[in-house]
Subunit: 411 residues, 2 copies
């Protein structure tokens, strides 16, 4: 088989970690497989560089930041290649450029436009294991551009697709995807299989196993992903198209929690056309992502508007919302940073009524007040008090018997 293996920063935190990963790669090669390795920067390397940059410039240019930050992955790839060679596995490091990865010009969050895998193929053809620096590529003008946090996942999946690899394995410090974060819900059980849509909802709702863009790319190109742990031999989770899914699939697959959101409320805004448009256009132009939106018609032709944003965006959003409120002649602005979002996700809820009601009832039985609700075809999100977050997660987890398989093992 031709296998792409990606190892994240937590798997490469020290010289001993690097050796451990090299032994893992060696075993795969010795089983007769061809392997292309993709690596992130070692441990906190990227954060250290970022800290140094902010000491030197209040607002460093995105091009220079990318030129700087990409060196962490280049270092990892060279160190991994020499470690593999030390263990007798012929290897060669590739920067994003050398691996043929062409990106858009959006420094810091570039998209992969093209992968020319010729050099990687040439290496594989003569028995050399390529070790590619993740997270980076070059624009058509030859400048280095990075793919955003978690971008090494995207590198791995794009290379797997360009090479027509049999599988893409993403290694981290957790053994794949669980029904809920096991640090919060000890009864959470590992999931053997997920489809791309479920994984996308999970990633974008706060689960940090895989980068959202990487999952989107994998869905578009139908690249199967194996999310596994670097430190154990557990099978992990396969993410792939769910065409052959059993009709017996349970309605909810997993629960996600995002504690880093804030709720913004505008009270008593005149009910005139274009009010919401003005507000959300200005927020959008400032790069602030708005998620759930509720607009309630109250008395005297006055509206209340509430929406959620990332907590990190509060500082930037507040003056914009304040300005809009004054322009529109609203009554008051409220910002609540003590909320959390709990989401139940599962493609099994498609065409199955009553799933949302079960979520709401589980929370009501626990006396947890639901402040806002958002849904997609395969997701139900509830905004609740942050203090209730973990309890809410546990209640929904129990309602859908998600920990069952593990509980049975424990019996």
């Amino acid at each position: 088989m031709l296998i792409v293996q990606k190892y994240g920063g937590s798997s490469l935190g020290s010289a001993d970690h690097v050796k451990n990963v090299a032994r893992k790669i060696q075993r795969t090669v010795e089983q007769g497989h061809q392997v292309v390795v993709v690596v992130s920067a070692m441990g906190d390397n990227t954060d250290d560089l970022l800290e140094l940059a902010t000491k030197l410039s209040v607002n460093p240019s995105a091009r220079e930041l990318d030129q700087l930050l990409s060196t962490g992955e280049t270092q990892s790839s060279a160190l991994m290649a020499m470690t593999l060679e030390h263990f007798g596995v012929p290897a060669k490091s590739f920067s994003g450029r050398q691996a043929g990865i062409i990106t858009s010009y959006d420094y810091g969050k570039a998209r992969i436009e093209q992968v020319d895998p010729r050099e990687l193929r040439n290496a594989l053809a003569v028995g050399i294991t390529p070790v590619v620096a993740g997270y980076q590529g070059v624009t058509r003008s030859g400048d280095v551009a990075t793919l955003g946090r978690g971008g090494s996942d995207l590198t791995a999946i794009a290379i797997a697709n360009a090479l027509g690899a049999d599988r893409c394995e993403i290694y981290s410090d957790v053994a794949g995807v669980y029904t809920a974060d096991p640090r919060i819900i000890p009864a959470a059980s590992p999931l053997g299989m997920l489809n791309y849509d479920e994984m996308l909802e999970l990633s974008s709702q706060g689960a940090q196993v895989l980068q959202t863009q990487a999952v989107e790319f994998a869905r578009g190109q139908q690249v199967p992903i194996y999310a596994r742990s670097t430190f154990t031999d557990e099978p992990g989770t396969i993410i792939r198209e769910g065409k052959k899914e059993s009709v017996e699939k349970p309605p909810v697959t997993a629960i996600a929690l995002n504690r880093h959101i804030a709720k913004v409320g505008l009270i008593g805004v005149p009910d005139a056309p274009g009010v919401a448009a003005l507000l959300f256009q200005e927020l959008g132009e400032s790069g602030i992502n708005v998620e759930l939106i509720i607009q309630a018609l109250s008395h005297n032709q006055l509206n209340d508007i509430a929406f959620t944003i990332e907590e990190d965006d509060v500082e930037a959003a507040e003056p914009i919302v304040q300005r809009c409120l004054e322009k529109l002649g609203g009554n008051a602005l409220s910002i609540d940073t003590q909320v959390a979002k709990v989401s139940a996700i599962g493609s099994g809820m498609l065409g199955r009524p009553g799933v949302a009601a079960r979520v709401f009832k589980a929370l009501a039985n626990g006396h947890i007040n639901i402040q806002m609700i958002g849904t997609s075809e395969i997701k139900i999100s509830c905004i609740i008090d942050r203090d209730d977050a973990e309890r809410a997660m546990r209640l929904i987890h129990e309602e859908f018997h998600l920990g069952q398989s593990q509980e049975m093992i424990e019996d």
Copy 2:
């Protein structure tokens, strides 16, 4: 003027150092000059990476080492570019590749084969100060190759030559070249001017102001070098062709000291043709550089052969010499690591007899025994006991009144 300015690692040891250098560049730009900056890696960055590499591999491949070590300079260039921009100087970082530097395939000690300065010219034309990562280039196959220790000097001089710059300024933590190392001879005085040949002898005899290959390149292309201090505004030393030199030039310009050598002696080797050839060929093939050689015909057709090598090479040289000695049937091998080499250098000694005699007499007056002597047209080197090294330096320095200008200032 178009000025190339190179800043070494000791000038870039911390965020504050980087800011200090950026201010210096800013002042030059604000004086109306065009500047191309070349930077080394920050402080001990390269050593730290090297240490990590040796933890992972006993014998890392030269290609991977170059891919790894070059990242230090790339980081410096991006950090310097963002600092300049923070100070309002439009700037852009260039890796060796982006600066158009094509090298030979000798990883770790590559030669610059070609510089294509188009991208640098394009930046200068629109008022952008290019900041080039020193020490690195790419081979014609696109692999990163480094130029050896001190290689950023060579980068600067090659770029100055390719751009037809008016001058190339090399900044370090010392204010140019002195008549002797001021840490050893406090009376040493700064030299205003040196020719390339003198600088070459000084560099290769142990003075660490400029990389030897860089001086050779500058001599070949007639690029004037200004060696100056990052931390003072002293004029420093100009290194250029000495065509217009005064005939009144003193016979000795400067004294160099190398304490890191060893003397190897083979006693009682048969006086047969090819003996020396065999020995020095085997040492050369192992990359061991032999400098001074003395072969003395002693009694009974037996020779004594003595030569000097770098102290670091003793471990590698000993088994080779031992094997040769056994093959030739010699009597004994002696290795003395308690020696030093003191060299008096000056193009003023050309065609002026008696200079060597003055050196020997100065040492004899100090009761210092000369074990070996080596000369070139503009250099006299003496191998002496290492304990006598500093005193020998001082004696020769005084004999040729080299500290005079400074002593006069001190009066």
